[in-house]
Symmetry: C2
Subunit: 148 residues, 2 copies
DNA sequence: TTGGACACTTACCAAAAGGTGCATACTTGT
DNA sequence: ACAAGTATGCACCTTTTGGTAAGTGTCCAA
């Protein structure tokens, strides 16, 4: 299928042919990548994972200050989701004033490892990526295109 | 810094201490992972990359049918962004009826390779992930929690 | 006694992302 | 002549996501 591509315009049938290439292996996910991304998508999740992976158990306030621009609401929210997804473990020391920290579960650690290549890629190609983003920033913003 | 965590409640200062851990290397990105994710986030982008990586140059219609639940508008949109980000190359054969195909640039290929571990991770842990997601689906939906 | 730190929670709102459906211009098959 | 297929564009709308500002209860330090 990936060899012979001499067909130019797909025949009226053949539609069914290339459907189902990325076959759902389990209900809800189209493939492994899909599953993974559902779990890491969230504006701050990768940063959280990355930070906790490096620092080990991290207190809420630490994270809060470290991530900077994140708000309490969203940080908590993403931590909860990560916890619900079994990637981080929340430890409440039941002290007062409250003390809580977050660490990675084994699952979270394995994910963090799988993220390393992405991290590397990003670092290596950051220059190109940010250049492109800088340009796009101009015409991406609503209603400010060089057309008018 | 990751060794001694004997401090319990952070002192009124020290706030500045753990700030700036994930130091921005370039304007706009907090780290490599951040850069990468900005480029791959989009509901269908990873699937597109993955598909094109496997199949080589892929016609629009093929993608459209293969990805299934995606709409034209969004597919086109994501392809454009991927193109603008230098990950895919659009080839217009200027024929009529139109013929266009999409392939990976070298940059795109390198990214696709970096995605492999994520893919693997997702595949390996898909069972756990989807189980958790199934549960969450119940109480995540607005206003139907087991509390009431 | 006021104020800040701790880890959250809630109500409300804005922006981003995604989806629907119709339109294009041209060709091929029926 | 008409439907279907080619790769898109556009207007409009809903869903999802993220952000803001306020409040909770308990403690300690000034």
């Amino acid at each position: 299928m990936s060899t012979d591509r001499s067909d130019l315009i797909s025949t009226p049938a053949q539609a069914q042919a290339d459907v189902q290439r990325c076959t759902p292996n389990l209900p809800g996910f189209t493939c492994g990548l899909d599953a993974t991304l559902r779990v890491v998508s969230g504006k701050w999740k990768p940063l959280i994972l990355y930070f906790v992976a490096q620092d080990g158990p991290t207190r809420y306030g630490e994270l809060r200050r470290a991530i900077r621009d994140v708000s309490d609401k969203v940080l908590i929210q993403q931590l909860k989701e990560l916890e619900a997804d079994g990637l981080v473990k929340r430890t409440d020391y039941k002290e007062v004033p409250p003390r809580v920290d977050y660490s990675l579960t084994p699952l979270g650690q394995s994910l963090a490892e799988a993220l390393v290549p992405l991290c590397t890629w990003g670092t290596e190609h950051m220059a190109e990526v940010s250049r492109v983003f800088a340009e796009r920033a101009t015409w991406t913003r609503p209603g400010r295109q060089p057309t008018g």
